[in-house]
């Protein structure tokens, strides 16, 4: 198997595990996500444990992974280069949160919910694609 094929296979495998995790934790159910964000209603803290479980595992494991000189099937780690906390980060994250609270989907669950043939998920992913294009076309910094 070539390295490119190995990379593709591991991307597919990682996607499968991620999707399984989203479904088992019920994060593909927008109501459950909204019930977490609804601190003034019937509050469902489950999402905090999903995030906590994921961070707990990744924090431990990444300590070992990032000590390696390079990934197994790739010549370098593609980590974010910027560390700036700036207006773009805050504005973008704030806008994302508003959309998250309206729909109950963030990108992962929105895409994973396509598996349930949910019309909502289809509309959401179409909207997300449009939003991505709008950003690239009108708001992305010119390089």
């Amino acid at each position: 198997m070539t390295r490119a094929a190995a990379r593709n296979a591991s991307a597919l495998a990682a996607g499968l595990v991620f999707g399984l995790g989203l479904a088992i934790s019920q994060m593909v159910n927008p109501r459950k996500v909204l019930d977490f964000l609804d601190v003034a209603g019937n509050w469902d803290p489950s999402l905090a444990l999903v995030l906590g479980g994921a961070v707990g595992v990744a924090m431990l494991a990444l300590r070992f992974v990032l000590k390696r000189k390079q990934p197994l099937f790739e010549s370098e780690f593609h980590l974010p280069r910027t560390t700036k906390v700036d207006r773009r980060l805050l504005a973008g994250s704030a806008i994302f949160g508003i959309g998250w609270g309206i729909g109950g989907y963030c990108p992962g669950p929105g895409i994973a919910a396509l598996s349930a043939a949910s019309v909502e998920a289809l509309v959401f992913v179409a909207g997300m694609t449009l939003g991505s294009f709008l950003y690239q076309r009108f708001a992305a910094p010119r390089s």
Partner: protein, 162 residues
């Protein structure tokens, strides 16, 4: 049970803050751990951050090998969720009756915001916090706060059953 007509909804009447209901800690922890394992696999094997919004925005812009692994990851994401729904059908019934224009608006805001903010719940929330990135911790706090505010407006001020 009311059937999704926009308007007042008694399910979301004010209960006082942090009135806990429908908590599923075990499945949340198990699912969360799997997400952490996935993020570890992708970084260890491919050197990539498992940020779904970043992978998705990349799919729309890149070509060739750099697009292929992204498509495969997203295909796996759908298939992985599909496997669980197939094994445990009552796990999740798609929400019906909620306003599709609102879902579309939500999608546009999420697409735009994650592109501008450089990440979402997975990229900033899981991977960034795990690397103790200050940028990601700030981003996560920002979208949690506006997410909670947004739900408060939609459910409690506008009275929409979301």
């Amino acid at each position: 049970m009311r059937a999704g007509v926009p308007g007042r909804d008694n399910r979301h009447t004010f209960q006082g803050f942090l009135h806990v209901a429908n908590f599923t800690p075990m499945s949340a922890l198990i699912g969360g751990a799997l997400i952490g394992i996935s993020a570890t696999l992708l970084l260890w094997l491919n050197g990539r951050i498992a940020g779904i919004s970043g992978i998705m925005h990349g799919v729309l812009q890149r070509r060739g090998d750099d697009a292929a692994w992204r498509w495969l990851f997203l295909a796996g994401l759908v298939a992985g969720a599909g496997v669980w729904l197939w094994l445990a059908p009552p796990a999740f019934a798609p929400r019906a009756g909620y306003s599709l224009p609102l879902v579309l608006l939500a999608g546009v805001l999420v697409g735009f915001g994650t592109a501008q903010g450089g990440g979402c719940t997975s990229g900033h929330g899981v991977c960034g916090i795990s690397r103790l990135s200050v940028r990601s911790i700030v981003a996560t706090l920002a979208f949690l706060v506006t997410g909670m505010a947004s739900v408060f407006v939609v459910r409690h001020l506008l009275g929409v059953a979301s």
